[in-house]
């Protein structure tokens, strides 16, 4: 019985529901373990004049206070550009940027030490907005571009030109387990680090390089994370460095974790964007030319911003063929913590930009936005993206048709229009938006994975890979993949904690590619073992008298048994085969490797084939708006996704519901508010409102769209984690649709997220909010 395609519970589900699944703060305290905290910059931008630790060091319980001077390696790191200091010493670039690391016997000692450190700092004028950065021309990295066709000619041929700007807000990942790491000194200079990270290799590398160690002297382990969503791709490194530095200096175990408020204040988020657009379109709604200049708020260092920005440009087309297009992107330097990865990784900003414009076209032409979308979809003769990749297996037109029917879109649209004509108190809106999301890291070398498979003499199996588990179900799928390779029950396979000791030079578990890269690598390892086992089994199963000579290709693994296809009645159990193979000195372990084929991209020309395939989907969302308060209620959501063959429909369904809801949060309600000093005011769930259970309509249908033509990738599956997030944009478009019923054909120019305030202010501008009967 294959486990592929079966609803098999999450491999840690029992641990989750009993509370027995361990996270790093749950690990028992070790003998002589230290607490770790830090003193950060009191200003968003400042020049450090002096630091005096004398008083603070004398406080009882303070074991050590460390500054940049105590760093034995290089006080500089960064995943793309090395521009981030671990401990600031000259100029600080964001509020609470680490300056001193404090080790204490108990937490109170650290709090007292922070107050006793004498830090003299001269405040510099911070840059706290994209506008200001543009004004001062403060950018990180160079301007990037993707273009094709002739936009001037496109504009000339257009019936209408629309120009303007559009803002999409930032978003906090809001993983429930805050950043945390636990460093334990080993023999000699070695360090063992437990880290809540999507990227153990990066933790290993940065800790080693900053502490002046070889990579081989640092081991990083991650069993699971309490959520990550991109927020632990690079951002886990700061707490890991602090814990590691203390462990190195004191040779005592040291654990460093942020509380929720600190975490939200000091770690990077989804990039806010401001874009300036010029679009030309025909009277029937076809986009003939589009120019968009994107400015992302990168925060104070590069971090992953260049890759995030390039994905924005690659997703500006979303599902649409744009014949004449010129998109540029520039990362703004601001005095905020460096913005970083968040599920979608620049894709949502690009998709929101184009969907916002499509909705505008519909409003301005007085047409149904679905009609405009269908008119612009990729299709025969229009299948090349602006960056030159051909859109193959383009199932979106069919998928959309099915969703239109299943959601009863047209009838509901008519009902809504009628409702809006008569309701004095509320407005309704509806929109269908698609997503076509490119799968692969856009940085070519990251598209590799390795896995280690060990079979033990009782026939049970351990597998580990460079992929980490953050709840998305990678371990569950790996377990299924490996079990099916040997045709054994999933219970006989365990996925072990991710460790740099077992799986070296791994890529972050990101870009939705965890199962693609690590699953394929695990298959590769299993195939090699199976080949050896089959060769050996062939000799056991052969029957010279019956004229059956050993033939490995004839050996079958099925239902925990092994047999020769030609003699199906002569079976041995997998367990028996394994112990026999061991005694014949046949290796029962293997490392597998995988590199995604056929992908490349030239950043200089903005051309290439960056994606192995696309994951597609669409959603219809209906909203209800209070005309007097702007309050928004999600009424109905219908989702249809093409994710190829689902290895585990239960896991994949949850990835879709969860992704859509995160997208809904970003599009409608999650607003980051800062004061004039650059301090985040919405730094906990009291003030930062992610969707709650009552925000999700009970009418929330999720279905899979069958796509038999998808024949590539592990078990013909598709990546699923990020694409659904962009379907949250359907709610934003539905708000615009609702507003258009009172704003008329002059457009419904709102920014994202469509909070109650944003909506009410848009209504107010036209006097509609005060409209009488």
């Amino acid at each position: 019985m294959a486990s592929n395609g079966v609803y098999i519970p999450h491999e840690s589900a029992k641990g989750h529901v009993t509370g027995q699944a361990h996270y790093i703060d749950d690990l028992p305290r070790l003998h002589a373990e230290l607490y770790v905290g830090y003193l950060g910059s009191p200003v968003a931008h400042g020049k450090i004049l002096s630091i005096n630790l004398d008083k603070a060091k004398k406080i009882p319980g303070v074991v050590g206070i460390y500054t940049h001077k105590d760093i034995q390696g290089e006080n500089l790191f960064g995943p793309i550009i090395k521009d981030e200091k671990f401990l600031a010493y000259d100029v600080t670039h964001f509020l609470s940027e680490p300056i001193c690391v404090i080790a204490g016997e108990y937490p109170e000692a650290i709090e007292k030490a922070k107050a006793a450190i004498e830090l003299e700092i001269e405040e510099l004028e911070p840059i706290l907005s994209i506008d200001k950065a543009i004004e001062k021309q403060k950018f990180i990295g160079k301007k990037i571009k993707i273009e094709r066709g002739d936009t001037s000619a496109g504009f000339a041929a257009s019936d209408h030109i629309l120009e303007g700007s559009f803002i999409t807000g930032g978003q906090e990942q809001f993983y429930l387990e805050s950043q945390i790491a636990f460093a334990i000194p080993q023999e000699e200079n070695d360090l063992l680090i437990y880290s809540s990270t999507q990227n153990p290799t990066e933790i290993q590398k940065v800790v080693a390089e900053v502490l002046g160690l070889g990579h081989h002297e640092v081991v990083c382990i991650c069993k699971r994370m309490g959520g990550a969503f991109g927020g632990k791709e690079t951002q886990g490194v700061h707490v890991a460095l602090m814990a590691a530095l203390v462990a190195q200096k004191t040779r005592r175990p040291a654990r460093c974790g942020y509380d929720k408020d600190t975490d939200m204040k000091v770690t990077g988020k989804r990039h806010p964007y401001k874009s300036f657009y010029k679009m030309g379109y025909s009277q029937d709604g076809e986009i003939l030319a589009l120019e968009i200049d994107y400015y992302s708020d990168g925060g104070c260092t590069a971090d992953l911003s260049p890759s995030v920005l390039s994905r924005t440009l690659m997703h500006t087309d979303n599902a649409y063929f744009l014949p004449n297009i010129r998109t540029t992107g520039q990362i703004c330097y601001t005095n905020f913590p460096s913005n970083t990865a968040f599920r979608g990784f620049g894709g949502p900003q690009g998709v929101a930009a184009i969907e916002n414009l499509i909705e505008e076209i519909a409003i301005r032409l007085g047409k149904d936005s679905l009609e405009i979308r269908k008119k612009n979809l990729y299709g025969p003769g229009r299948e090349t993206t602006p960056y030159g990749q051909i859109v193959r297996n383009n199932i979106l037109p069919n998928l959309i048709e099915r969703l239109v029917t299943e959601s009863d879109y047209h009838a509901r649209l008519a009902e809504i229009q009628e409702y809006n004509r008569s309701s004095k108190l509320n407005l309704k809106g509806i929109a269908l938006t698609p997503v076509k999301f490119g799968i692969s890291f856009t940085t070519k070398f990251l598209n590799q994975g390795n896995a280690l498979v060990n079979i033990y003499t009782d026939g049970t199996v351990q597998v580990s890979s460079g992929g980490t588990e953050m709840g998305q179900g990678l371990y569950t799928k790996l377990r299924q993949i490996v079990a099916d390779q040997f045709a054994i029950p999933v219970e006989d396979v365990k996925v072990m904690a991710t460790s740099t000791e077992k799986n070296n030079n791994a890529s972050p578990t990101a870009a939705s590619a965890g199962t693609d890269l690590n699953g394929n690598a695990a298959v590769n390892a299993c195939e090699k073992i199976r080949e050896r086992l089959a060769g050996f089994a062939a000799t056991l199963l052969a029957d010279q008298a019956a004229g059956i000579s050993p033939e490995a290709a004839e050996v079958c693994f099925d239902d925990a048994q092994v047999f020769d296809r030609r003699l199906p009645d002569k079976k041995i159990s997998f367990k028996e085969l394994v112990i026999k193979a061991y005694k014949e000195r046949i290796s029962l372990g293997e490392r597998g490797f995988y590199a995604t084929p056929g992908i490349d991209f030239n950043n200089d020309t903005g051309k290439g084939n960056p994606f192995y395939y696309f994951t597609n989907g669409a959603a219809v969302t209906e909203v209800l708006i209070d005309r007097f308060t702007g309050e928004l209620k999600l009424e109905k959501i219908d989702v249809l996704m093409d994710i190829g063959n689902s290895i585990n429909p239960g896991i994949d369904h949850g990835q879709i519901t969860g992704g859509v809801v995160q997208g809904l949060g970003w599009a409608t309600n999650e607003a980051l508010t800062y004061n004039e000093k650059g301090e985040l005011l919405s730094h906990s769930p009291t003030t930062y409102k992610i969707p709650g259970i009552k925000d999700i309509p009970l009418h929330f249908n999720v279905n899979f769209f069958d796509n038999p033509e998808h024949q590539i990738n592990v078990l013909r599956s598709k990546a699923v984690a990020e694409p659904p997030l962009m379907l949250g944009i359907s709610a934003f478009c539905a708000v615009k649709n609702a507003l258009s019923s009172v704003l008329g054909t002059s457009g419904a120019n709102i920014n994202l997220p469509a909070t109650g305030e944003e909506i009410l202010m848009a209504l107010q501008k036209t006097g509609v909010a005060k409209m009488q009967s």
């Binding site: 519970p9 999450h10 840690s12 589900a13 029992k14 641990g15 989750h16 529901v17 009993t18 509370g19 027995q20 699944a21 361990h22 703060d25 749950d26 305290r29 993983y175 429930l176 387990e177 805050s178 699971r224 309490g226 959520g227 969503f229 929720k260 108190l425 709840g471 998305q472 179900g473 005309r627 007097f628 308060t629 309050e631 239960g650 896991i651 369904h653 949850g654 519901t657 969860g658 809801v661 995160q662 309600n669 607003a671 508010t673 005011l681 906990s684 769930p685 009291t686 409102k689 709650g692 259970i693 009552k694 925000d695 009970l698 109650g756 009410l760 202010m761 909010a769 005060k770 009488q772």
Partner: protein, 481 residues
């Protein structure tokens, strides 16, 4: 005065726990995790806004019977737990079998990263203790206080609905609840005083045996901070904004936990929690219950008291506008006297109260709306549920036929205290409820308020909301006739 005990006694699952000294000041979640290694209870926000730390708490009522409700353990302190029975997620599996709630969550993919899961399991377990069957809106209601970032909730609703077909084990019996009740009953009637010195600082936690002793102790220790549900005290303490060294816990005082009604008024004892008040008001002032439906979440409503809410004095407290508009009065008690103060004159400025150091808020008297009247309450917040309001409003009009005889309009979130909009009230008298009248009322209201811009909304947005709510009210009335 009753006899004295110097330790807190309570039960965790089946274990009897005795605490003296500094651990009495720990949040329950920290005590569970770091003193008892019960790390199934997770902590995310430390402010009662995520539910990851949800536990079920058993407490003795005035008849000394044990009742179980769910609370957030991050904002319950050990000094509040004397004579309580705490059930944690570990308590569900003492027999090494999974609870049906747990099985259903596993089967329906209700967990992804697993960090919110123990809290959700505890909330659902509490639901199974209260109801045999439940529909989807009831499940949503129950889980309003539990945030999940992974699943989008849909799988959790499915897992919960599937429980309708399951028979539930007798969890309370398996935890020896009856025996624990008996043991706790034997300990009742003591004053508990925990005193200790830490780093040269003396700290005191007092739990009085009854109201009389509470008033005596308040006179003796006037500097103690009164703590009832601790739902705000807990946040302030966890975030380092409150550093109280001396506290007196009063939420267990049954003498001031009453709920009474007669033809003219309702009376709430100060320690009545919001869950009880919400149910109690459903028939007499349903509008108030509807506001309480979106007041925080059940974990908070089970702990937070009306007295605490009033003493906390927040201008954005959801409960205050109705109390202002209906001219509620407060009963203030001290060892030697009792006085009644109208709530409209109780607040003298931002968090400035007409309350003496030896006084305790004993209760609230809320006049019921008269027969020919209209009461409409509004709360606008960024998220509908489990959110602090941007703006609140209560409109109370006593009618003489079509004419407004008298008006009381209270607005929160637009000044340092809840404001009565006197010029609007005056303007409305002798007028009718119609859009043109309320358009003018809205204009007057804008002149009377002084909102600020903050994380919950801009000054302009708040001003617009106040104006629009008045107009919405008149349009709603029009739609009714």
């Amino acid at each position: 005065m009753n006899n004295l005990r110097n330790e807190i006694v309570f039960f965790i699952n089946k274990e009897k726990v005795v605490v003296a000294g500094e651990d009495a000041f720990l949040p329950l979640s920290s005590f569970l995790r770091y003193r008892k290694n019960l790390t199934g209870t997770k902590v995310v926000c430390s402010e009662g806004d995520c539910g990851a730390c949800t536990v079920i708490l058993g407490w003795l009522d005035e008849n000394r019977k044990i009742h179980y409700t769910m609370v957030d353990s991050c904002i319950q302190f050990v000094f509040q737990l004397d004579l309580c029975h705490v059930i944690t997620v570990e308590g569900l599996n003492l027999n090494n079998e999974l609870h049906p709630v747990q099985n259903s969550m596993i089967r329906h993919f209700g967990s992804q990263c697993g960090f919110c899961t123990p809290g959700i399991v505890m909330a659902l377990t509490d639901l199974t203790l209260k109801q045999k069957s439940f529909n989807a809106p009831e499940i949503q209601e129950k889980l309003t206080g539990n945030l999940c970032r992974c699943t989008g909730y849909e799988p959790i609703v499915k897992a919960s609905l599937a429980l309708n077909d399951e028979s539930m084990p007798d969890l309370l019996s398996s935890l020896d609840s009856a025996e624990i009740e008996k043991q706790l009953q034997q300990l009742a009637d003591s004053n508990v005083i925990i005193e200790f010195t830490q780093n040269g600082e003396k700290k005191t936690a007092i739990k009085p045996a009854n109201l009389a002793d509470a008033l005596t102790l308040k006179a003796k220790y006037p500097q103690v901070r009164l703590v009832a549900g601790a739902t705000d005290f807990g946040v302030q303490t966890n975030k380092g904004r409150a550093k109280d060294k001396n506290v007196m816990f009063i939420a267990h005082l049954h003498e001031i936990g009453y709920l009474k009604k007669n033809a003219e008024q309702l009376e709430f004892g100060a320690t009545a929690n919001w869950s009880r008040i919400r149910d109690f008001c459903r028939s007499e002032i349903p509008q108030f219950s509807e506001i309480l439906d979106i007041f925080a979440a059940e974990q908070i409503r089970n702990a937070a008291t009306i007295g605490g809410n009033i003493a906390n004095g927040s201008p954005i407290a959801d409960s205050l506008p109705v109390l202002f508009a209906l001219n509620a009065s407060l009963k203030l008690l001290s060892e030697s006297s009792e006085r009644i103060v109208p709530i409209n004159s109780f607040y003298r400025g931002y968090k400035q109260l007409d309350l003496q150091q030896n006084e305790i808020i004993g209760g609230v008297i809320l006049p019921l709306p008269v027969k020919n009247s209209v009461l409409r309450l509004f709360k606008v917040s960024r998220r509908k549920d489990l959110d602090i309001s941007t703006v609140t409003m209560a409109i109370y009009l006593e009618m003489d036929g079509n004419k407004i005889q008298s008006a009381a309009i209270a607005a929160g979130g637009v000044g340092p205290v809840v404001l009565r909009l006197h010029s609007v009230e005056k303007f409305l008298v002798d007028r009718t409820i119609e859009p043109s009248v309320f358009e003018e009322a809205a204009r007057l209201a804008a002149e009377e308020i002084s909102p600020i811009s903050d994380v919950r909304g801009s000054k302009e947005y708040r001003t617009l909301l106040i104006q629009n709510l008045l107009q919405k009210f008149s349009l709603e009335r029009e739609a009714l006739v």
